[in-house]
């Protein structure tokens, strides 16, 4: 696949990348930087795979969507690695920046936040999250359960899940 074709493939995902980055680091500039850094890491590591993708014109609409989703998941893999590390480093600085109405969400550990966002915002299945984060399934389920418990219980104390 040509460079510009690849750009056209991922361009419609820009706002989703940003949304995910902001879920990890609630600061405009930091979130944008995270998107660019994750893309750079993805391009460097997966250059061969990207250049070997079929030509844009050879792909049907359905195949195009599948490839786009594949690239989305691929880039999220790098974003999760870089983002979780960076979110932990910037934890102190982000206390003031995070939007008050989502305080509960940002109180969660970065990795739990990431799993909750992948599951409930982007609607990825447990198997897909397992693949994106390269962690065992039981860990994904545990993080979903913990995150959900903390969010639901803090909002509705006494609610049983």
């Amino acid at each position: 696949m040509k460079r510009m074709d690849f750009y056209q493939l991922i361009k419609p995902l820009t706002d989703k990348f940003y949304r995910m980055a902001f879920n990890l680091i609630p600061d405009d500039l930091q979130a944008e930087q995270l998107v660019v850094d994750s893309l750079n890491a993805y391009l460097i590591k997966e250059k061969k795979f990207i250049l070997n993708l079929p030509e844009f014109s050879d792909l049907s609409k359905k195949e195009l969507q599948l490839k786009r989703r594949q690239c989305f998941k691929g880039m999220l893999k790098y974003m999760s690695e870089i983002g979780v590390r960076r979110a932990s480093q910037l934890k102190g600085q982000m206390l003031q920046a995070r939007p008050a109405e989502f305080d509960l969400f940002y109180k969660l550990e970065p990795k739990v936040r990431l799993v909750i966002a992948l599951r409930y915002d982007f609607l990825f299945t447990v198997e897909e999250i397992e693949d994106i984060l390269s962690i065992p399934r039981y860990e994904v389920i545990e993080k979903i359960h913990n995150g959900r418990f903390l969010l639901m219980n803090d909002m509705n104390p006494g609610l049983s899940l």
């Binding site: 460079r3 991922i10 361009k11 949304r19 609630p26 660019v36 915002d121 299945t125 639901m152």
Partner: protein, 109 residues
């Protein structure tokens, strides 16, 4: 009649496990049809789906859906484009490759 009720109650856990898959669209076509047929014949089960659906929307409402301004989006797209152009550059094999790369860069400027 009673046997039928017991039979369907026994199959509840099997379908309960499929609620999330049904809601996020990860069930196969056959599984989805089977699930929908079960729901149609068990109205009480529908309430459980509704409860799960409400829980998912509630959790979704607790996650920020950050968006970029039109200007911010354009600037981020430009940065992404530059990254793609710079990092996916193929080393030219000959003089024609060099010319092709230069033309491509000039067009995409």
């Amino acid at each position: 009649m009673m046997e039928n009720t017991l039979d369907s109650r026994n199959s509840y856990p099997q379908y309960q496990k499929k609620i999330i898959g049904y809601l996020d669209g990860s069930l196969s076509f056959e599984e989805k049809s089977e699930f929908e047929a079960f729901v149609r014949t068990h109205p009480d089960f529908e309430a459980q789906i509704k409860k799960k659906e409400d829980e998912i929307s509630f959790l979704k409402s607790l996650i920020p859906a950050a968006t970029l301004s039109a200007q911010g989006l354009e600037s981020l797209e430009n940065e992404m484009k530059q990254s793609v152009l710079n990092l996916l550059k193929q080393e030219p094999k000959n003089v024609f490759g060099k010319i092709r790369n230069s033309i491509e860069e000039w067009i995409n400027r």
